[in-house]
Symmetry: C3
Subunit: 266 residues, 3 copies
């Protein structure tokens, strides 16, 4: 079988309406030899931060060369720029609104271009509100068919990065916060595993607190405490996470994005 | 690569249960050389009108020849007919309940047949409640494998069309109503762009009202007003839409399907 | 076209986060010649019983040889075993938590193995919380590429089956209960069609009760009563179901899993 061209889609379009399928129709009209994988279409509406996190924890798992098309784009139709970039061997087509932040922090930038060459990027697209269908999709087809991305436009002077909270450290503790609540209600913090292992040779001696509640030491996985009991662990993103075994920590602890997460000695 | 046979699915089956996947299993058991694209499975249960709108705004974007299989079918197992039709180069397999209404209004009818030839349409299918799996899917496979649709049965005398509200005009205004609320809470009206441009040479001079609230002139896109501010624009379906930038107009304005939308002079 | 390798995914990961797509990325990185079909990712979190029912009513519809990968796995990272099995010509990769129960009751077991050969099953995977990505996906790729499943490990002594309620019969009635509420709010019972037909030669003479309310005789399909009226029928799973035409029986009757369903003579 010929090698298929692989493209992922990440949007906040939802699935009950026509938007996702209209975009796929354009993609498949442009190229039948194209494989489309949905990252998610259920990003909360206009939530560039959540989209950025999801992108950074999915794109690296796809084969090198995959084109990731991101349409979480609350300022569509204004003068926000459309960017093409290659980070760590993966390609990205995205609005310049900060959605690339977490990818850019974790993988080397290899190429970036403003998409403004009118040969490929319509200056007056059919709609001003649905560039996913009318701009991103046709452009993605051209890129997968071999268009050299250097022809899209000039290298931008800069591109937008989100200001996100970083964990801090003092003499007693590492202090971070919840940055994402996942499907299971698990509270994902911004404290990376290595910040803990750097400070405690034996990570099992670290004690985790969330929203001023003592959670306890780091566990291996959810099932290492009883159902209904809280726990802390290093999750599959390499981040400190607070959870409740087989329950929703976000509900049970009334905690969400912004809640303090603290790691102290015993 | 051989040209793949392209089929879309549009249902109200939801995604938490077995229905969508059972149908896909039958399709793939019948033909491995088949590409399936989900239009949506999250149409509100039994909502033929919403399904019809979504179908009309997705099917034209897919390549000619695509077979669109629609199973929003509240009267499954009764004497409602199963129809095959070709409109504007796209194929449709659907229950005769009006779901084809908006497609039929916007694309020329090229062929229509009642599906009742017992060679292809089982008269006593395995279930009376799940024709998606037991009737539509096997028939779709036959059609994609080259069955001449003229063999399915006779041309029907008529087929069901939904009665939907049409905008009216008086000396002061175009008066329409909201017919669809999208994923973002945007209020999509039944007033087409050309009804406005026919009446106001400079569409920027038209003023839009929704639920007796003055929204203002037509804007290019959402980001042309401040976040939280209401606006009106021509959307990607070519219809007048009332929205709030980065918020849900349906909530904020307590408006939904049926709410009055009015366009007046300045 | 070469025959594609077919794999299904059934999880409780939801669709708003990175989990499903990360798993697909690993699958496609391992094998581009692979077709992935989503069974569902919207199984209620940790609901092994619901996942088991959905699996049993979808897997048989896929072509023989399909590999079904099930990651509803609340005890991930503990000493729960990972199993490979072949039932009725279909392959399954699943945690040993009972999710295979309904498949095992309806199809013959042909092969079963503990997955513990360290050549294929990492003993210290990258994460302890996301074996879908780090264990199931790489192993699925190996299996679809032709790895003999007998090499995965020994045949287990036993495997976990859920204890589920079975219908009983007395002199007056068949007594069962609701075991699943579907997307439409239909109440699916554990009473199979043949339990009724064995007892009443003319099934139309049987009368169905649900939560002590008389529903009436068996109907052919939903549309055989007026909209808003309750009815009973044999559904597409071959089970007795209580529904309301074009409405949600679960809401209207305040009934759910565990509600009594009873079949009596006239």
């Amino acid at each position: 079988m010929a090698k298929q061209k692989l493209l992922t889609l990440l949007t906040d379009f939802g699935r009950e309406g026509p938007y996702v399928a209209a975009m796929k129709g354009v993609l498949l009209s442009g190229s039948r030899d194209l494989r489309i994988v949905d990252i998610s279409h259920d990003i909360p509406a206009h939530d560039v931060l959540a989209a950025g996190l999801v992108l950074a924890h999915t794109a690296p798992w796809f084969p090198p060369g995959t084109l990731n098309v991101v349409v979480v784009d609350p300022t569509v139709g204004t003068d926000r720029q459309l960017l093409y970039a290659r980070f760590g061997g993966r390609q990205f087509l995205f609005p310049d609104n900060g959605v690339i932040t977490f990818v850019a922090r974790s993988a080397p930038l290899e190429l970036i271009r403003l998409c403004r060459n009118a040969d490929y990027v319509p200056s007056a697209p059919p709609s001003s509100t649905f560039h996913g269908r009318d701009v991103f999709a046709p452009l993605a087809v051209r890129l997968l068919e071999g268009l050299d991305p250097r022809r899209l436009g000039p290298t931008p002077q800069t591109y937008k990065m989100l200001q996100t909270p970083e964990p801090s450290e003092d003499v007693d503790a590492i202090i971070g916060q919840v940055i994402y609540v996942d499907h299971f209600g698990n509270l994902v913090s911004n404290i990376p595993a290595d910040a803990i292992s750097r400070r405690w040779q034996d990570p099992a001696r670290a004690v985790v607190w969330c929203a001023r509640t003592r959670i306890g030491p780091l566990r291996i996985s959810y099932g290492h405490v009883e159902p209904g009991e809280p726990l802390a662990l290093i999750n599959s993103m390499g981040l400190l996470e607070v959870a409740i075994n087989q329950d929703r920590a976000s509900y049970a602890m009334s905690a969400g994005v912004g809640a303090e997460v603290r790691v102290t000695g015993e």
